[in-house]
């Protein structure tokens, strides 16, 4: 049972009210009755007490009468009559009073009747007494005495009557006092109950009222809050009607705080002002008319207009509805929406433009694109994709099956597999395949696809590139490459074989010449021997030349076998190899902490061997020959300019000697193959040594150059990447 519901519902409240009133009336009537009863009871009690008093009074009078009677008898007072009549009157009064008091008590009435009777008797008696007194009759005394005795017995009877009355009164009194007590016992309770009930009802009512008030307050507060915090401006207008009943203006009755925010005018300032005065523009832009119409027709309508507030243009949408005698207007700032819609329009335009560009780009780049929702089986293909396949855009329905009809039969499997993989993979999937266009042309396509999740649905986006051209180019390049490689290999083996095979006959020539010189010496003339010598020299030269050429050709361009080489160790080996000539020439070689470089061991060995042997060969005869080898690290900007360097840091290895030197203008020439600066009779050599050095250094992506001064010495600089 939803007690709260019942309480809060008006109907149940009314019923409760009725019940409460009824109960209240009931209780109050009960209480009233109770009090009346108590009052009656009290009256009765007081009545009893009065009776008691009167009885006492009466009988005291009788006692007085008795007493005075006796007294008069005793003293023989004549005043008795007077006093008796006084007392009799008093007794009469009292008797009457008592009679009145005991009106309702039959038993007391009986007593009273009896008392009355006896009173009369008394009266008679007393009168007799009085009468007798004056007489002097002889048996007056006896008559007196008899009357006295009668009086006495009357008083006795009266006394017993009093007693009876008193007793009766006591009984009645006790009854009444008990009743009174009972009444006084209940009455407070009933009254209290009544009071409490009343209190409770009042309290409940109060609480209910208070709660309702609170609710109301909070509801009001809520509404207030909404209104004041609403992004919307809420205004309530009362119309100003002229004498003809036409609405000429409106007055601001209520405005929430928003007005200050929008217009910059504080709320307090607005309220109470006229619409025409505060916002004159509304009189002409249709707002005023709309209000009037609404007021007259009660129809809800809206109007969006631009305004300028705070030096900015804002668009406000006003919705007006009739409320009692005035109009309630809600105004919404729609500037953003307006801007948004304008932006959207602009965006749309730019998007359209971009799309057009993209489409064009696709044509230029020879690519097509597609998006597909694999789960829903929906595919969208770009126009150029159709064109790539040799058909007009939209020629067939875009779907995987139709696309696959263009795929070369040999590649269909690959295509299917990769496509399936593409759906399940997270990254980019690529596949290259052939297609046959509508006009039977074969093309190479490359698909790049990616699965993305858009709003929970899987979407595949892909770009298809026509790579036919690049494939063709690649093939051509490959072919050329192969051809080149072949040529290269041929050339190399030609070189090697030529050199090698050339050496064979040469050696034979030399060998047989030496045999001739040795064994057939005697058979030759001087001239003959000299001729033999010449032949020998020439062949020796030729052999050296071929050997060097062989070495030169052996330096291949690949860097197979590249490894770190400690140049210190390498120098040691070179010095070992050249130990004899070093010893012979008495040359000192000093190397200072050479670095470790990456290179091909044999080639590096050759490089240094050639340079050192050159230094030995071209030493000065006059002084002790010396070679100094140094190494430093240099940055690319410190390298000599002709060098096309690509690495970050280089080692500069300096080999300087104090030999005969050469003209600096020849510094580049010397590295040319077969280039010599001296006669072959002056210094032996084939002109290949330095060319070999250059080839080796070039192979290691380095650079070699030299500086020299005639008669002083030469310095060779080798630059190798770190």
């Amino acid at each position: 049972m939803d007690f709260n519901g019942i309480i809060s519902s008006t109907k149940s409240y009314k019923i409760a009210l009725v019940i409460a009133i009824a109960l209240l009336l009931l209780l109050s009537s009960i209480s009233y009755r109770q009090i009346i009863n108590m009052r009656n009871s009290a009256d009765l009690v007081s009545g009893s007490l009065l009776v008691d008093k009167e009885i006492n009074n009466l009988f005291s009078k009788f006692s007085l009468i008795e007493a005075s009677g006796y007294k008069s008898l005793i003293v023989n007072d004549s005043t008795f009559k007077d006093t008796y009549s006084v007392y009799k009157n008093e007794a009469e009064t009292s008797f009457k009073q008592l009679a009145k008091l005991t009106q309702d008590i039959p038993e007391q009435r009986q007593y009273l009747d009896t008392i009355n009777h006896w009173r009369d008797s008394l009266d008679i008696s007393l009168n007799n007494i009085n009468n007798y007194r004056g007489l002097l009759e002889e048996d007056v005394e006896d008559k007196l005495m008899a009357e006295v005795v009668k009086m006495a017995s009357i008083f006795q009877k009266l006394a017993s009557l009093k007693l009876g009355m008193s007793q009766k009164k006591d009984v009645l009194f006790r009854e009444r006092i008990n009743a009174y007590k009972t009444e006084t016992f209940f009455t407070p309770f009933i009254s209290l109950l009544l009071v409490l009930f009343s209190l409770t009802v009042f309290l409940l009512a109060f609480v209910k009222i208070n709660n309702s008030r609170k609710e109301l307050l909070s509801a009001q507060g809520f509404v207030d809050n909404i209104i004041s915090n609403s992004n919307n401006l809420v205004n309530y207008f009362k119309p100003i009607i002229d004498e003809n009943g036409k609405v000429i203006d409106f007055i601001f009755e209520y405005s929430n705080n928003k007005i200050e925010e929008i217009t910059g005018i504080p709320t307090k300032q607005i309220i109470g002002t006229k619409l025409s005065k505060s916002f004159p523009i509304t009189m002409t832009n249709g707002l005023f008319d709309m209000y009037v119409t609404c007021l007259n027709t009660g129809k809800v309508s809206q109007l969006t207009r631009p305004y300028i507030f705070k030096e900015e243009e804002v668009w406000l949408k006003s919705i007006v509805s009739k409320l009692e005698m005035g109009v309630n207007v809600t105004t919404i700032d729609v500037s953003q929406e307006k801007h948004a819609s304008e932006n959207l329009k602009k965006l749309n335009e730019s998007l359209f433009l971009k799309n057009a560009i993209l489409n064009n780009a696709e044509v230029v780049a020879k690519i097509g694109s597609f998006t597909s929702y694999p789960e829903m089986g929906v595919t969208d293909m770009s126009d150029n994709l159709y064109r790539l396949l040799g058909v007009k855009p939209g020629d067939f329905e875009p779907c995987l099956e139709n696309l696959m009809t263009y795929v070369h039969p040999d590649d269909v499997q690959k295509f299917k597999k990769t496509f399936a993989k593409g759906i399940s993979s997270k990254g980019i999937t690529e596949v290259t395949y052939r297609i046959i266009t509508k006009d039977k042309k074969r093309r190479y396509f490359k698909s790049t696809t990616l699965m993305i999740v858009e709003n929970g649905t899987k979407k595949m986006v892909g770009v298809i590139q026509n790579i036919t051209q690049s494939i063709k180019k690649d093939k051509k390049l490959e072919q050329k490459n192969k051809a080149l490689k072949l040529i290269n290999t041929e050339l190399e083996s030609f070189n090697r074989v030529a050199s090698h095979d050339l050496q064979e006959p040469l050696r034979k020539i030399q060998m047989f010449i030496s045999l001739l010189s040795e064994t057939e010496r005697n058979n030759f003339s001087e001239k003959g021997l000299a001729y033999l010598d010449k032949i020998d020299n020439s062949t020796e030269r030729m052999q050296l030349l071929i050997k060097n050429l062989l070495t030169y050709s052996r330096i291949d361009n690949t860097l197979d076998g590249i490894q770190p080489i400690d140049l210190n160790n390498k120098m040691k080996k070179v010095k070992d190899n050249l130990s004899e000539s070093i010893k012979e020439s008495n040359i000192t070689i000093v190397e200072n902490n050479l670095p470790t470089i990456n290179g091909i061991p044999f080639q590096i060995e050759q490089l240094f061997t050639n340079l050192i042997s050159n230094a030995i060969k071209y030493k000065k005869l006059t002084e002790g020959a010396q070679i100094v080898i140094d190494a430093t690290k240099v940055k690319p900007n410190q390298l000599p300019t002709p060098f096309n360097n690509t690495e970050n840091a280089y080692y500069e290895i300096k080999i300087s000697d104090n030999g005969i030197g050469f003209e600096q203008e020849n510094a580049e020439k010397i590295f040319n193959i077969f280039e010599r600066l001296h006669q072959k009779t002056e210094y032996s050599g084939t002109g290949i040594g330095l060319a070999i050095c250059k080839k080796i250094v070039d192979n290691h992506h380095g650079y070699i150059c030299a500086t020299s001064k005639i008669g002083i010495g030469s310095t060779f600089y080798i630059y190798l990447p770190v």
Binding site: N569, K572, K573, D576, N577, S579
Partner: protein, 183 residues
Amino acid sequence: MKIYVTFNLNITRNAILKEQLDRLGFDYTIENTQEISFKNKLTTEQESVLAESLSIYGITIIDNQKTELVQRIKDTINEMLADDEANLYKISSYLADKLNYSYAYLSNIFSESTYTSIENFVILKKVDQAKELIANTDLTLTEIAYRLNYSSVAHLSGQFKKTTGLTPSTFQKIIKKRKEFNI
């Protein structure tokens, strides 16, 4: 896994001799490192059989005093090279002292029989030792030069190159590569 062995030439030789001579049933006495005396004279056939069975072990019967002397020279040289202290002596004086011949005579005999001089032979031996150390130990050239009583590494390298035609480092490289390929 590697184990390092060294052997006592004499014991080895004697053991082999004993084994072979016993096998062939000879009545013999091993007099010294060079000599074995037989109770009975050996026939040519017996001699050739013995020579053949001993040749497997590299033991040759020398029937020439000259050859014997040469062998003694060789042995002495071996001794000298094995002895660290004796290495300090000059070969000439050492041999002359040990064998009680003039060095010139010894030299002559040696060259005649072996077609190489004593000096060459010594060098050969030393280089062979160097080769041994390079191939089988991790000693540096400096250490090897020191051990073999060379005045410097350069001296050792020079002699090495002259004798073998290869530098010690090349030699080392080749030996290492050989081991890799399990030649």
